[in-house]
Every structure is written in C-alpha cells, then in structure tokens.
Symmetry: C2
C-alpha cells in the first residue's frame, strides 16, 4: 500500500493559449477582456483555443495586477438572525446587478473578528465592505477611517460624520411600539433587551426609558430584562420575566426573542394578547406567520441593505472623492394579533 502523492497538474495559463494560437499573451489578454485592439480573425482563433484547452483566468494574478476583485463583503453579527438574511439578500441583489459577487461573513458578534476583517480588508479578497457591527466602538471607527477600501456601516442612529453610514433610530422604533401598547391600555410593560452592551441594545433600552418619561410613567428597573437576541434566549428568560415582573405586556428588543417568549407563554397556557401582549422588532418573516402573529416594528432591513450596497458601489465605481454620506430610514410600526385584543 503505497502513498501516491498528488500530481500537481499545471494549470493552463494565458501563455498556453498564446502559444497554441500563435499570438502573444498581450493579444490573448486583450481578446479575453475585450479591451484594446485586435482583429476579428485573431479573436476567433484565441477564443477557440481558450475553450479547447479549457482556459480559465487566474483571479489571483488578475486582481494582483488590477487591484480589483469584483467582490464585496457583508459582515453581520449572526447569520442565524433572519433580519440579517433579509439584509444580505437585498445586498446580494444589488451587487449582482453590478457584476459583483457577495461574500457573506458571520462574525458571531465578536469584536475581534470585526477588527480583523476591517484591518486586513486593505488587501483581502474584496473591494469593499458593508458591516453591521453589534458593537461600534471608537476602535471600530478608527479602523474604518483608516481602512484602505471603502466601508459602509449599517448601524443605529448615530455614526461618525466621516464614515459612510446607513442609519435607523431603533430607539424611536421602541417608542412607537410603546405608544401602541399604552394605547391598548397596557400599563405594566416589561422590556426584554438583547445584549445591553451592543448598539441596538443601548438604543432600544433608551427608547423604552424615553417612552416612559414621555408618558409620565415611573421608571421601574425590575421590569427590565436582558437576553441575547436569539429565540432560545427569549424562551429561557421568559419564566423570569413572568415571575418577577408580572407584566401585562412584554416589549421585546427583537422578533426572535419575542417568538421565544410567546412560545413559553403558550406552554404556560397564557393567552397572547388577552393575558399578555407581546411586541417585537425587526419584522422578520416568521413573525407574520406565527400564532398569534407578532406585532412588530420594521427597521427596513432589506431597504437598508439595498441603500448600503448602492452607496458602496458608488464609492467603488466613481473615482471622485465625495463627502461621506449618512443615510437614514425611519422605523414603522406593524400591528398584528399579538398586541390587540379583539372583542368577540
């Protein structure tokens, strides 16, 4: 039983095509890229030979020379969250229309991962980056400003004026939802936050507090809970919310946690919305088809993805320097069954 070493079959290069068709590599390159001048006859010959011997360009070499990869990256915290999937799909569509490819990176909410991506971005396999960081520290901002490729940030309501950003005020979104709940006669509204050290975590909690103040309600920290933005996380913390806060409504910082909470409530034979109203945020597809369907606040993830992609592409294709842009989108309340008692 002998070990057979891999024979490293040499790749077929542009030189092979050139030789076999009796022209120079420059000509082959011109034909293949439809650039410069060449006759119809040589074009036909070169293309025929290329197909015959199965030539495909080496993108490493190509982009080393061109300083372009025709790829862009989207870095999100957790691809398990449908809201990022929706964002990714929107980005994908836009970049594809422009002949770019999308590379999806999931950072698992690790700042170190994010730093690494931004830092080595300069010479990575992408021409630009869209990043939606869960955390958005000074270090992020510093790295992004120094990054050697265009970066667009999708984040909360405030960014750095020197950084291209697509913003949404999710604190405002929470206020919309709170207003709705209060309007439905709920008075003891618990708040289930995600990780409180993250951008959305901070913003949404602020929205909750701001809303209480607006309505002259007392701030009661025993009504505030935190989990991790996942369905399982919402499910786990639900018991504690019920036993400790005894609320008549639960405002959740995102839809996944809201669905987790509703699952627990159902298991406890509690009726939503009759016993407890539940509201989420993000407007993921599953919220529309859950039972009861979930009242939520849309932060227009797809729209923001589209805007970010278009902004990034405009940076890549134009070679004039333009002032950094700050685009904004406004949250929208979507009322469904989980928060409105229908009188039979």
């Amino acid at each position: 039983m002998e070990d057979i070493k891999k024979e490293s079959k040499r790749e077929v290069t542009i030189m092979d095509v050139a030789e076999k068709s009796g022209v120079s590599i420059a000509t082959v390159s011109r034909v293949l890229n439809r650039t410069g001048r060449y006759s119809d006859e040589t074009s036909r010959k070169v293309l025929a030979v290329a197909r015959e011997i199965g030539y495909t360009p080496n993108y490493m070499a190509k982009s080393l020379k061109r300083k372009k990869t025709e790829q862009i990256a989207l870095a999100v915290a957790d691809i398990g969250n449908p809201v990022y999937v929706a964002m990714a799909k929107a980005v994908q569509q836009v970049v594809k229309e422009h002949g770019y490819r999308l590379v999806l990176l999931s950072t698992e909410a690790l700042a170190s991962e994010e730093y690494g991506i931004i830092k080595s971005l300069s010479k990575q396999y992408v021409d630009g980056l869209i990043i939606s960081p869960l955390l958005y520290s000074d270090e992020h901002r510093e790295l992004i400003k120094q990054a050697a490729r265009p970066v667009v940030v999708i984040t909360g309501s405030e960014s750095d004026p020197d950084i291209d950003s697509v913003l949404v005020d999710s604190s405002q979104g929470v206020r919309l939802a709170m207003e709705h709940l209060l309007g439905q006669g709920r008075s003891r509204i618990a708040f289930l936050n995600g990780r409180p050290d993250t951008v959305p975590g901070v913003a949404r909690l602020n929205g909750y507090y701001a809303s209480l103040i607006e309505h002259g309600l007392p701030r009661d920290d025993s009504l505030v809970f935190a989990s991790d933005f996942t369905l399982a996380g919402g499910y786990q913390v639900a018991e504690e919310i019920l036993s400790r806060a005894k609320p008549d409504a639960i405002m959740c910082a995102n839809d996944l946690m809201a669905l987790g909470v509703m699952r627990y409530l159902r298991e406890q034979r509690l009726r939503v919305p009759e016993d407890i109203a539940v509201v989420g945020m993000d407007d993921i597809e599953h919220g529309a088809s859950s039972f009861p369907s979930l009242t939520t606040v849309s932060l227009l993830a797809a729209e923001r993805g589209r805007m970010a992609a278009e902004l990034l592409l405009s940076r890549l294709t134009s070679d004039e320097i333009q002032k950094p842009k700050q685009l904004q989108v406004v949250p929208r309340l979507i009322v469904r069954e989980s928060s409105v008692v229908v009188k039979g």
Copy 2:
C-alpha cells in the same frame, strides 16, 4: 467646484518594511511568516517597523505564489432557508478551528450560478468548495470531477462514487413520517412537494409514493401538490390543497412550507392536528416553537455540514490521494404537536 481625483495612496509593501529596517525582503518575509532562519534581533526590528508603518500583507500576491487562500466556500441554494443557515454555522465552526475562513455563496437555486462557481473554482479565491446543489445533473458531476480544487457535495441518497459526498436519504425520511401519520389513523394524506425538478423534490415525492405502496394504499395524484420550498409558497398553495384534496393530513416536503400551510389553516379556523395533521421536514428551529409545534423529520443538516467540512479539510491538508468517500446520515422522526391529537 472641481472634481478631486482620488489620490491612490500606494499600499505599504514588504519592500517598505525591508528598506526601513535595513534588511532584505526575504528576511522580512521569513520573520513575518515565522519560517526559515533569522535572528531574534532582526525579528524584533522587523516586527517593530511593520507595526509602525502599518504593514499588512497583500493576500493576492501571497496566494498567487502560495496557491492557497485559506478560504473555503459553501454554496447553498437559498440562504433564506434556515436549514442552510444551520449547515453554514456548522461548517463555519469546523473551518474556523482549522484556521480557514468561510465564504458563503447563495446561488438562488440557479444551476448556471452553480456551474460558474465550480468551473472557475480552479482559480477563484478559495481552496475548496462544499456545495449543496438543488439540482444535480450530469453536468454538475462532470464539472465537479474536473474541478481543480477539492469539492464536497451535500446531496440526497445517491451521488457519483468518484465524488466526495455527504448523503441523506430524504425519501426514507418521508417514509418515516408517513408511517407515523398512518399510525395516527390518518388515511387521506396530501403531499406538498417543493420544486419537483430538484434532488430533494424527486426524492421526497418518491418516498411518498413508496410509502403508499408499502401500506397497500392507492396512488392518487390528485393528492399531490408542488410549491417552492418557501414559507410564502406553502401558504399560497394551501388553499388549493384544502379545496381540491380535502385531506386529513398534509405531508410537506420541508418545514418552511409546513409553517406556511399551518398559517393558512389557522386563518381558516381549522385546528391542527385535530382537523388536519401537518408534518414537515428539516427540523428548523422555528418548527419547535411554532404553534402548534411542528412534527418533522430531521435530516441532520448541522451534522452533515460538519462532516462535509471535515472531509474537505482533510482533502486540503493531506497530500496523499485518497479514494472519494461517501458519508451517510440517517433521518430521524421528531414527533411534536402538529400530528398527534391529545385526548383531553
């Protein structure tokens, strides 16, 4: 108002580091890659300079020379399907442990996309590919065999013996579920397929038919429907299923469609499982927390992802040629509320 052209600030290269630290580029490269021989003193100096002037390697040049990118790709049909997300997460974890990065590609179920990826794979920005094709034609197989980088296919129950594959017999999975439904006393079981021209579409429909034969039931094509494996698709076709087939159970080819169907049933005030039982397939997280929770068949997506990743990495790291492997996983029935009537 004048157009300011981007000044293309020259990247800092290994030559800059070499010059500033008074050594040759070879030495810098050795220090940076911890390879070959160099003294402690030069190491310190080089590293200091590199950090000072902010050097980061150009991966294009590096991989052109090394013929390695330290990246692998996972191509799936639809990243909007949570089952692929679960798969991706498992792959991500494995490759990360080995110092590789995962690039996620969503083909939107287009065979042409898949062909393109496999073809140009040889000189793309990845060292290997894991692909879970919705369609799996002869052309796929041919291209995969000729691909210049290792490819692992995640697909149904049969592949090519010359291709590294991770398999699961989803037809068997459907039979498990059917057996369960029949055991619950259901007799008029409709089948909601996904796209029937796909690998899973064919397999699952076959499983349905096989199951009927096993139990001596007549084949009734008016009970068979097709959609597109999405939640919205399941929702849309549900009305037709009800009006045309009048079933007492609906076997869905995947969980997303099952959730869509359940949503429609609820809107129609039909009780699941009392009026109609519903079973899905894939075991996505949302199925466990839907109401009622969804009986399903797990095809062990995460496990298959893990296996595929490990297989691919073993191909990449060992340089002995080994016979292609066919790994298999067996489906598992998961009974939940949507198919079992509890007597109160």
